[in-house]
């Protein structure tokens, strides 16, 4: 395993037969107009997926934690999409997004809203990817938050209520501080996971329209396997790795703190 890491450092200095080219690969990649788009899209995707993909499961978990009925059913159902193979989930949504007979435009029609072109327009394509990815990964976050919520001692809520704190203030002053660390850890994990997004653009849009959904991982794949340029691909991989290692390092620190508590 350690070898692999070493390899990934060397690889970007080798073009296929193993020629030393220095920073040539980096220059090629930088000059690609898709390069900036890929980083911007990846950042935008992570940002959106972070906001939607963390807030939604947290809210769901808070609501679920209050319910006393149908708990097993709800927990089962929310985890269902996680068990689908991602390729299936993505292709399923491709059908839902279909501009003609797709489920989503039909639903918009029922409430008398104009249809959207989802994957085919530069303005909606990226958010469409975020929706798929949130849908299929939601369950994990919800269940982990739920477990964290259950460890909050009830008397904290009790005393907050005696102090006259309303519902939202109790969430803000008790629930969130008590789950702060797990929230942070999950946020970081999400950043690391979403920065590597590949399957959604690969299957749904092929990076288009007009590079609106090219991501770094997708570009890396294209370089290595469509253009046959492993050097360029590795250069991208290395850049991605450096960015992600920063997040991982922070994650490690926080989880250590958490373990010590």
């Amino acid at each position: 395993m350690v070898r692999e890491i070493v390899l990934s450092f060397q690889q970007n200095n080798f073009v296929d037969p193993g020629k030393w080219v220095g920073f040539e690969n980096f220059r090629t990649v930088f000059a690609d107009p898709a390069f900036a788009a890929a980083w911007l899209n990846t950042a935008a995707f992570s940002g959106l997926a972070l906001v939607i993909g963390s807030a939604v499961p947290f809210v769901l978990a808070v609501v679920l934690n209050e319910l006393k009925h149908a708990k097993a059913y709800l927990r089962f159902v929310v985890y269902l999409p996680v068990m689908l193979p991602p390729a299936v989930a993505v292709l399923l949504f491709k059908w839902f997004y279909d501009p003609g007979s797709g489920l989503f435009n039909q639903a918009l029609d029922v409430v008398h809203l104009p249809p959207l072109s989802w994957l085919d327009s530069t303005s909606t394509a990226l958010i469409s990817l975020v929706i798929v990815s949130t849908w299929m990964n939601l369950g994990t976050g919800t269940l982990i938050y739920l477990a964290a919520l259950q460890s909050i001692p009830g008397d904290l809520y009790e005393s907050a209520e005696l102090d006259g704190a309303g519902l939202l203030r109790r969430v803000w002053h008790v629930t969130i501080p008590q789950t702060k660390l797990i929230l942070l850890v999950m946020l970081l994990l999400q950043v690391v996971a979403t920065m590597q997004v590949f399957i959604e653009p690969y299957l749904l849009t092929g990076g288009g329209p007009e590079n609106a959904t090219v991501t770094v991982a997708y570009l890396m794949y294209q370089y290595a396997f469509n253009f046959g340029d492993f050097g360029g691909g590795s250069a991208l991989g290395l850049m991605l790795m450096i960015v992600l290692l920063v997040f991982s390092a922070v994650y490690l620190r926080i989880s250590r703190e958490e373990a010590e508590r």
Binding site: E4, L67, L84, P86, L91
Partner: protein
């Protein structure tokens, strides 16, 4: 146990109304968001291409014609894909258990020199995102160091990387650590070798965690897309996810949807049967929980 809302507030008439409203809304929304797409998929496959394109769509298919499923099975050679995937997942499972259990046992109980360092290195691999290791691992699989074997288009390309899973080693080690020392020492005094202790004492008491690791490893391999896409480019070697995706463009829509249903059945079934263990594994994977 008391949560955000106090039980007193729930017992008032207003509290009851709010509670039941929230409950109903949640149940309806969850069903709509997470079950309905699956329902739509299963029934969508039963519709004829005309009915699929029809606006507005029909909620129930007009006829229950299971022929599409048979079509999908034949046209997409789903049988081959499923067999491949089962082979990959099964092999990966065996290798995962063989490698990770022995590794965790060695680290936990035999305490070799540098054991801490090895464990640290394994944990470090968890920190490195899989996507950036994609190219180096691919090159390793293409030309295995020392042996110079080309693993592409062979099951080994799936089995070997799947077996080297630092997370599973870590989970197993934590569980093994909790097995009382006295038990093992007693066996040692009776003259049992380390391997025998592993086989007849450690494994039987570790059944729950081994179950969790087994399910996770099979499901992970079954769901994986990117890696099999790279290392199994030959059509008749593809795993089911890759196979369906690569043939999706040429298929009539109802056949494609039918094949999606077939592809997701195994993991959904596994979830129905083992949901308890899967959820336990999930929270064991999180830090606290």
């Amino acid at each position: 146990m008391r949560t955000l809302v106090s039980p007193l507030a729930l017992r008032t008439p207003r509290g009851r109304i709010v509670y039941w409203t929230v409950l109903t809304v949640t149940v309806i929304c969850f069903t709509g968001a997470f079950v309905f797409p699956l329902y739509w998929m299963v029934t969508g496959a039963l519709k004829s291409p005309d009915e699929l394109a029809q606006i507005p769509p029909s909620f129930f298919p007009k006829s229950f014609d299971f022929h599409v499923y048979a079509d999908a099975w034949e046209q997409l050679q789903l049988g081959v894909f499923l067999k491949n995937t089962a082979l990959y997942a099964g092999g990966a499972w065996l290798f995962t258990l063989a490698v990770d259990v022995t590794a965790a046992y060695a680290l936990s109980k035999l305490r070799p020199v540098l054991g801490k360092l090895v464990l640290g290195a394994m944990l470090a691999t968890l920190m490195i995102p899989p996507m950036v290791l994609l190219l180096p691992t691919y090159l390793v699989a293409k030309d295995l160091p020392i042996l110079h074997a080309d693993l592409l288009n062979t099951p080994w390309a799936i089995w070997l990387p799947a077996a080297a899973n630092g997370f599973f080693v870590f989970l197993l080690k934590r569980f093994f650590d909790s097995i009382p020392k006295e038990l093992l020492e007693a066996a040692e005094i009776d003259g049992a070798s380390p391997l025998r202790i592993l086989w007849s004492i450690v494994l039987p008491v570790s059944r729950p965690i081994i179950g969790v690791v087994s399910i996770l490893s099979v499901v992970t391999v079954w769901k994986d897309f990117v890696w099999p896409l790279l290392v199994l480019p030959e059509t008749d070697k593809m795993s089911i996810s890759v196979g369906i995706a690569s043939l999706s463009a040429q298929m009539p829509q109802n056949v494609l949807i039918a094949s999606l249903v077939i592809a997701s059945l195994p993991t959904i079934l596994v979830f129905f049967v083992f949901q308890r263990s899967i959820m336990a594994g999930l929270t064991a994977g999180s830090l606290k929980g």
